[in-house]
Amino acid sequence: MADIRSLQDAVADLVHDGDTVAMEGFTHLIPYAAAHEVIRQGITDLTLVRMTPDVIYDQLIGAGLVRKLVFSWGGNPGVGSLHRFRDAVENGWPRPLELDEHSHAGMANRYVAGASKLPFAVLRGYRGSDIPTRTDTVSTVVCPFTGEELAAVAALNPDVTVIHAQQADRAGNVQMWGLTGVQKEAALAADRVLVTVEEIVEELTPRPGGIVLPTWVIDAVSVVPGGAHPSYATGYSTRDNDFYQAWDPIARDREAFLTWIEENVRDSEGALTR
């Protein structure tokens, strides 16, 4: 059953040095506030998992907390490169970054296998690609009925999955709607689940396209209005495209990045999420 508690306490209890952490959200509902709390608490040596490491992971990588990244597309959507990600990969700054790199289809199926508690998933993918030469989490299986060789991808089972949703009720049941991406799979694949929400409501009203995660698959719910900013929460906010644009020059420069983190995250609890 989920406890409803402060973000600070929830992160401290659920996210540990060395953990494999998935913070998911396909452009929508990205849990920025929780990532900033991880930065404030200096939780480090993380293996981060995410289909689209976005600005949220650029920040964690630049802050020096990340040992390894498991992903399929690393960019600032609609803007360009993730400069902190590139600096870590290309120059080892502030520390080297190990990569486990996949396609979107592969990553999505790795989460599906994780949620299904299977050791692997099967897809018709990676054919003719060099990707399998750089990872040990892609292999092949042969169909016992047709003899066709297919790609096998290893299950992803994060230690912790962190997501943002619109609403929880007092019992800790959570509902999200709009683009719900791969969050259900990421949550059900994980050992521990932290959900930040826009608000607590007396009763969850079923929504078109709504996904409900029952309280008994969640460890903690923290109320963080605007906790997805500069991403957004359908029904509560819109995407702050200006922020994504503004991030580019900040992230290009190491000093500018460090100053930004210091002023906007470390010194300023929740400053970004207002």
Partner: protein, 254 residues
């Protein structure tokens, strides 16, 4: 490029759309040659009908105007791998003469670390499973290379039978639309051949912008210039959105 890419969608029922130029082209097709075109974004929206050009594939309007929104694993398994998509769009950092694609890393010389690109995204399975693939990118020797530093996504491999040998259901890249013209694979060799140039572009200029010895069709056509209707529709789309911001074509949703 947008107008030619939009025209290439005239016959499609369904199109898997990336942000940037593919999204512009697909929405332009809906406004001109193919009003019924079903736009599918990898964020999970099926049948989006945005009124302005979205900045990201997760734009709220894509979901709000969609016929259906599905989870991302379902999108890749039931819809893309399920063979439901007629046309996919791909960009590339590097493309070779067989329309193979690199979006992973570039070699920057012996003493330098590899240059990092965004990675695969949906591209390997888009190229494999869509009925056909349209590529859109700027024409330069930096992009059109003799040899890829990394094969992220297979186009035609090394010849006309390679896709079949690998069991790839779709036809693969059928056109590479650039700012200079259009290249199409030769059915006999699968090698890209320059078949059309845009008005006022010379074949020589295309050759000079290509990193391999470019094969040119016996008769090279000239693409039709954009019609007033096409230009008006394009202007209207861009005026409704903020196209300047979406900037870099095809870089966002590999």
């Amino acid at each position: 490029m947008e107008v030619n890419a939009a025209r290439a969608l005239a016959d499609a029922t369904t199109c898997f759309v990336g942000i940037g130029l593919p999204s512009t082209a697909a929405n332009l097709a809906r406004a001109t040659v193919n009003p019924g075109l079903v736009l599918i974004y990898e964020s999970g929206t099926i049948g989006s009908k945005p009124t302005r050009l979205p900045l990201s594939i997760g734009d709220g309007e894509l979901a709000e105007t969609a016929d259906a929104v599905v989870p991302v694993p379902e999108m890749f398994n039931y819809w893309l791998q399920g063979g439901r998509i007629d046309v996919g769009f791909l960009g590339a950092a590097q493309v070779d003469r067989y329309a193979n694609i690199n979006t992973t890393v570039v070699d920057r010389g012996p003493d330098k670390p590899e240059g990092r690109l965004p990675g695969a995204g949906g591209a390997p399975e888009i190229a494999s499973n869509c009925g056909k693939v349209l590529m859109v990118l700027r024409h330069s020797t930096r992009n059109f290379v003799q040899r890829l530093d990394f094969v992220t996504t297979l186009g035609h491999g090394g010849g006309p039978d390679d896709r079949k040998k690998l069991g790839m259901p779709g036809a693969g890249p059928t056109a590479v639309i650039t700012d200079l013209g259009i290249l199409r694979p030769d059915p006999a060799t699968a090698e890209l051949v320059l078949t059309e140039v845009h008005p006022d572009v010379t074949v020589e200029r295309v050759r000079a912008a290509t990193g391999w010895e470019l094969t040119v069709a016996d008769t090279v056509g000239t693409t039709e210039p954009p019609t007033p209707q096409e230009l008006a529709a394009l202007r209207a789309l861009k005026a409704a959105g903020k196209p300047g911001k979406s900037g870099k074509p095809g870089k966002e949703t590999r």
